[in-house]
Every structure is written in structure tokens, then in C-alpha cells.
Amino acid sequence: MSQVTAAAEAPDSAVSAPPGLVRDALKGPQALVGLALLATFVAIALLQPVLLSQDSTTKVGAVFAPPSREHVLGLDGGGADMVALLIDGTRVSLLVGFAAALVSAVIGGLVGLTSGFFGGKTDITLMRLTDYFIVIPDIPLMIVAAALFGRSLTNIIVIIGIIYWTTTARLLRAQVKSVRERVYVRRARGLGAGNLWLIRKHVVPQIAPLLIANTVLLVAYAIFAETFITFLGLGDPSVISWGRLIENAFTDDAILNDAWWTIVPPGVCVAIVVLAATMVGSSIEDALNPRLAVGHLSVRRFGLRVLPQMPPRGERSATTPPPTGAAAPGKGRR
């Protein structure tokens, strides 16, 4: 196997996942912030019909009108309110993100599960296949596929989902393989447990955290990928997404008009959501794979202390207090 594909595999798939791992991981500050941010955007997306009284693309004022009290983020190249457009875009961007991630997780999950669990010829064939596909560059493939088949939201979701299944598949396969070899699984099999039961009861709980972490990260990728597709004019023309807003700003020559308010906000939204999803996903991943934070020898210097003059041990009586560290920090400290 090549070094590259080896690197694409799970770093340490032999770590077992204790129950409640995901829940505990999500309690950490990093995950909480990420979840809060994601929840905010999801709320906005869900509340969209309530928040918007009319179609977001309706012209409500002058083209490229700067931010004002009435329209906090100004108007775009078509005179539509940026805030309304952003709210609308939230819905589609998040939809694409979650849906594509789901597609990817399902395909990758099934392939990884089958491959890892059944091993043998199935495994080898499937992995050979993924090995070849890993090398083909993902985003260009997506762009080409979108150019050929795109222009509708469903197609885009499917395209993004299909492109990303390989990483999930490899990750899961490694994990499933190690779980399959665990003692308790062998024992259960010895007791006559069927494959499906084994999968359900033993394999799935063990791989669930990894799958969840990976899916969350896939959401980030998918939202990111959507902006590529729409920017090149391949998006669904009937919907507004953040990627679309960036494209509009570009094609409407927002730069010439110095209309930063049409460019900055949609990108900020994408960056925040991607960052938030990354925070959540990597928190779970970290919990699974506690990197032994050893670094016992960071190349900084040790500190030297100057102690008050102490009589040597032999001469000390019971009343001499032992030396403590409470002395002035000495020389040699960096």
C-alpha cells in the first residue's frame, strides 16, 4: 500500500470506544462552542419562513446600497436585502451540507462495514477500488460532474456525497476490522450469534463515535464543496445559498463598486459553520484517540532554584524544617 493511502487510514483504529464517549466529548468547551454555533445556524434555517416575509431576492432599494439602519448589511447587486439573502442561504447551505454528508456517510459506512466485517475477497476488491479512486482529485471531479450533470440541488447533493465516500470507507473498515477481532465478538460468535446481530450489538456501538466524528467533518467539507460548485456557475439557479451569494457578488462586480457588504458576510457564514463543525468533529476524534501528550522533552530549559543554606542531612535534627521549593526563582530559567 502506498504511503499516501496508508496515511489516509485511521491513525489508531485499535482504540476501543467506551460507552458515552461521544456524550462526554461533546461536553468539552471546544465542542460546546461548536455545537452552539451550529445550533444557531440550524435555528435560523428552520425559522426561515418566520423570519422572511417575502422572497429574499425581491428588490427593496437601490443596487449596492451600503449598510443602513433599515438594512443592516446593505443591499446586493440586485437591490435585495443582504440579511434576508443570508437567512435564505443558510437553509440551502446547511441542507446541502447535512444531506451530502449523510449520503457520504451511508455509502462509505456500508462499504467500510462490509469490507471490514466480511473480509476476504469482498474486502480486497472494495479496497482496491477505493485505492484507485482516492488518487483521483476530489474537487475537480466534483466540478466536472457538476458541469455535466449539475444544476439541480439534488444532483449537487448526490455528487458531493459520492465523491467523499472513500475516506469514510477506509476509516470505518480499519475500525470494523479491529472490532471484529476483539475477544468478546469472537465469544459471541462462538455462542452462535448471527452476523447481523453481531453487527448491530457489537460493531455498530464501537464504530459509532468514529462515524459520527467523520460525518460531522463531512458536513463541513460538503458546505465548503458547495461553494466551489456554485461559484463556477454550476449551482441550482433557483435557490439561494451562501456559495451563490459569493458568486453573485463576483459576477455583479461588487469589487468595482466597493460593496464589501455583499462579499464579506456569506464567506464569514461559511467559515463559521465549517469551523464549528470542525471543532465538534475533532473533539470527538480527539476523545477517541487521546494523543499521548507526552512531549516530555520540550526544548526549553529547566529552572534553577537558590535555596537557603541548609545543613547536610546528617546534621539535621528533628527540628530543622525540610527544604521547600519556596525560594526565589533562580537563574537559568528561560
Binding site: 488518487v135 454550476l234 463576483f250 469589487i255 520540550s298
Partner: protein, 324 residues
């Protein structure tokens, strides 16, 4: 030679992957429901013309026939002709590829240098503000769509720095006097800086994270303790023992991020009107010039496969621990 069989195995794998890519390319482009020619828009595209074109391109033959023809053409280096300009795809893409290569190389160098510096500092000052700040900055840039970052740079930065934001050369250069080779070179470089910088900023975060992990792992190793015990200074220890080992994963990572590098450069070239292969792709999409699109995608895929092979072999050479 050590591992001659490993090298052969990897080369063979690369060749097979090339074949898979070619087939995929064919399948994608010919699997269209409907016809590429049908949606063609151009001035002389009458029905007759389209029929003739179809015949010319062999689109009226069976899929299998077409596949064989395709392979034959490729064997001769023929990537077809652009539907728009009627010129060979190969010649249309020749100059753009070189432009893109230069820009992407520059951008990747930026990102590696930045990533390594941030990664090393983060590992060195682990747990401190410098560590976290470096990583989060990297992650934040990594979360920004490259085209948006490019737009932001054009909007806020370009004018104050005085760098050009489009094209690859200053059209006014050759007008009055014959510019020297050096002037031309500098001019080209100036036009490359912003797009390359955009690419570099998007990518460095990932490299920083990986360099940091690798450094931390390395710094915890006994041979680093031994190096210090020998009397090496902190700096010398990091430089001689830490860095080399920490850089190995970067090679792998570049190979893995090629998809993003290419995708990113496509959108970045669009923003900066930089005449590279990315811009060709965008125009081809817009004008439904499928031969160009197909040719560009094929060439890009070949480049990625080649790079993966080189990365594999380089890693193999640099790390004597790897045995086949």
C-alpha cells in the same frame, strides 16, 4: 537498490490508476444523457454543422467503438479539438498549464513555509497562547472558501500593497520600450503573488497541525533527549533531529490535499483572471466546450497521479525505516 520491487509496484499501480482515470473520463463525458453537441452554442452551430461535428467526433458510433478511438487518440497524444476555437486541445492547454504550475508551486511553497513555522512554534511553545493562536488561525483560513478569500484580498489588501489583481502580465509593458527579461520575470511574479498567497493561506493550516503533531511526537523521543545530553543547544536539537522527522508527513499531506489545491486554484484563477488551466476550465464550462473540459480534467488527474507516485517514492527514499 533498496526496495526496487517497491518502486516497481508503485509505478505499476500508477499506470493502472492512469488507466482507471482515462476510463472514468470517458465514461463521464460520454455517459451524458443527451448529447454534448446538442447544447453547443456558437455562431455557426446550425443543425447541419452539429451533425457534421458529431460525425467528425465519432459520436454516432457505438460506445465501445468510441472508447477504442478515444484510447487510440490518447496514445498519440491527441486530446481532441476545442469546440469553440477548433484548435487542438493540447495546444490550447499548453501555456495555461505552465502558468498554473508556477502559481501553484509558489502557493504551495508559501503554505509549507508558513505551516512549518507555525507548526514548529506551536510545538515548541506547546500549550501557550502562541500555540493555540497559531493553530486556530490556520484552521480559520482553512475554513474559508478560497474564492472568497481571494475576493477579500482583492478588496482589502491589494490596493494598499500595490499588487496587480488580474492577468499574468502588464499589457502596457511592451509598448514603449523593449522590456528586459528580468522586468518581464518580475512582472509575472507580481501577478502571481496574490493568487499564490491566497492558495497558501488556505492550505497552511493543515500543514501546521501535522507539523505540530509530528514535532511533539518527535520531541518526546529518546533520541531528542540524547541529543540534548550530547550538549546540543535547543535550537540545534530541533533543527537537526526534530525537523527532518517532522517534515516527512508533510510530503504525504501535500499529496492528499491535491484535490483542494487544484479545486482551489480553479476558483482562485477565476477570481484573479489568471490565465491558467483553471481559468480554461471555467471558460469551458461556461461555453460547454467539453473537449477542453475533458482534456483539462484528464491532464489534471495525470498530474495528481504522477505527484502521488513521486511523493511515495520520495517518502520511501527519505525514511530508511520503510521497508516494502
Amino acid at each position: 537498490m533498496r526496495g526496487a520491487d517497491y518502486v516497481l509496484k508503485r509505478i505499476f499501480f500508477a499506470i493502472v490508476t492512469v488507466f482507471v482515470a482515462i476510463t472514468l473520463n470517458f465514461v463521464l463525458f460520454r455517459a451524458l444523457p443527451g448529447d454534448a453537441i446538442q447544447s453547443l452554442r456558437c455562431r455557426q452551430c446550425t443543425e447541419q454543422f452539429k451533425e457534421a461535428l458529431r460525425h467528425d467526433l465519432g459520436l454516432d458510433k457505438s460506445k465501445w467503438e468510441q472508447y477504442k478511438l478515444y484510447l487510440q487518440d490518447l496514445a498519440h497524444g491527441d486530446l481532441g479539438d476545442s469546440l469553440r476555437t477548433q484548435k487542438a486541445v493540447r495546444s490550447e492547454l499548453w501555456e495555461p498549464i505552465r502558468n498554473t504550475l508556477a502559481m501553484v508551486a509558489l502557493g504551495t511553497v508559501f503554505s509549507i513555509i508558513l505551516g512549518v513555522v507555525v507548526g514548529v512554534v506551536s510545538a515548541w511553545r506547546r500549550g501557550t497562547f502562541a500555540d493555540r493562536a497559531g493553530l486556530w488561525t490556520g484552521l480559520t483560513f482553512y475554513s474559508m472558501p478560497p474564492q472568497w478569500l481571494g475576493l477579500m484580498i482583492v478588496l482589502f489588501v491589494a490596493s494598499s500593497i500595490g499588487l496587480p489583481t488580474s492577468g499574468i502580465s502588464d499589457p502596457s509593458l511592451g509598448i514603449l520600450t523593449e522590456p528586459s527579461g528580468w522586468t518581464l520575470f518580475v512582472d509575472r511574479l507580481k501577478h502571481m503573488i496574490l493568487p499564490a498567497a491566497t492558495l497558501g493561506l488556505v492550505l497552511f493550516g493543515e500543514y501546521a497541525i501535522i507539523v505540530r503533531s509530528a514535532m511533539l511526537e518527535t520531541l518526546g523521543e529518546d533520541y531528542v533527549l540524547t541529543a540534548r545530553a550530547k550538549g546540543l543547544s535547543n535550537w540545534a536539537t530541533v533543527w537537526r533531529h526534530g525537523l527532518r522527522n517532522a517534515l516527512l508527513p508533510v510530503i504525504t499531506l501535500i499529496a492528499l490535499s491535491l484535490g483542494l489545491i487544484i479545486g482551489g486554484s480553479i476558483t482562485i484563477e477565476y477570481v484573479f483572471s489568471y490565465p491558467g488551466i483553471g481559468l480554461q476550465v471555467v471558460e469551458a464550462i461556461d461555453q460547454r466546450d467539453f473537449p477542453i473540459l475533458q482534456g483539462a480534467f484528464l491532464l489534471l488527474t495525470f498530474a495528481v497521479i504522477l505527484f502521488n507516485l513521486l511523493a511515495d517514492l520520495l517518502y520511501f527514499k527519505l525514511d530508511p525505516r520503510i521497508t516494502t
